[in-house]
Amino acid sequence: MKITLNHRADILETSKEKLTINELLKLKKFSFTRLVVKINGTLIRREDYDSASLKENDNVEIIHMISGG
């Protein structure tokens, strides 16, 4: 599946037509627990990570929030 992930073209190794956010996080091995996720500019809240899905050509932003300030 071809998507844009954080401004860059990315090809996801999957045969599925749709992926949930949690499936994407697992696939990309993203390990930070605090995230901001947007699909095509729309904020996806944590409680929707198993229901919200992305598909071919979507623009996905996954921003890690890391302690320190």
Binding site: V36, I63, H64, M65, I66, S67, G69
Partner: protein, 195 residues
């Protein structure tokens, strides 16, 4: 634009600063020095000795509330800057109320869950107000790793990877770099691109 023109433009601007620790205190001072007319600052915490390795406070301020001490320090730099200081742990409702009329908000919290909270709150509650966040500033060196990533109205400044810990503490140079880069992004938003 000469400095008087810059100052004149910034005089009518308001910047919200969420958190007055390493990022917030240093970013606020930079913005005050160039003449941002009004700063709305908030923090619930008091100054500890261990904060002095990076935060814009002085040893005789240990035990004071950070937001009150920061207001005092800014007043010593420029008495014409209006500083509204709030001793509070910001939660979504209050955050939106305090920052509703700001031109830009600076996220300067310590904890990742608070950073996540403010981004979610701003994106849903104040989507047209730019938000500048600091993410990844632990340790020393690695100047080349510190960048600004823009996602529409959301700007993320830092190395985007290093988490502070006992073995990788936040210390003055790198925290100061990220804080000043955040202030620099704020200026770019308020004044437009220079280059």
């Amino acid at each position: 634009m000469n400095f008087q023109e810059i100052k004149k433009k910034l005089k009518n601007k308001t910047v919200g600063i969420a958190g007055c620790g390493g990022l917030g205190s240093n970013a606020a001072v930079a913005l005050a020095r160039v003449g941002v007319g009004r700063l709305i600052i908030a923090d619930f915490d008091k100054i500890e000795e261990s904060n002095l390795n990076r935060q814009y406070f002085f040893s005789d301020q240990i035990g004071s509330y950070k937001s009150s001490a920061l207001k005092e320090n800014i007043g010593r730099i420029d008495t014409s800057i209006q500083v509204d200081s709030h001793i509070t742990k910001l939660m979504p409702e209050e955050l939106i109320r305090l920052f509703a009329k700001t031109d830009v908000v600076v996220e300067a919290f310590d904890k990742a869950e608070m950073k996540e909270m403010i981004v979610e709150t701003m994106l849903t509650g104040l989507p047209s107000t730019p938000l500048v966040c600091g993410v990844g500033l632990a340790g020393w060196g690695g100047n080349e790793l510190i960048t600004v990533e823009q996602y529409d109205n959301l700007y993320i400044v830092g190395d985007h990877a290093s988490e502070t810990s006992e073995e990788d503490p936040p210390i003055a140079p790198r925290v100061g770099i990220v804080a000043n880069m955040m202030a620099n992004v704020v200026l770019e938003i308020l004044l437009g691109k220079n280059k």
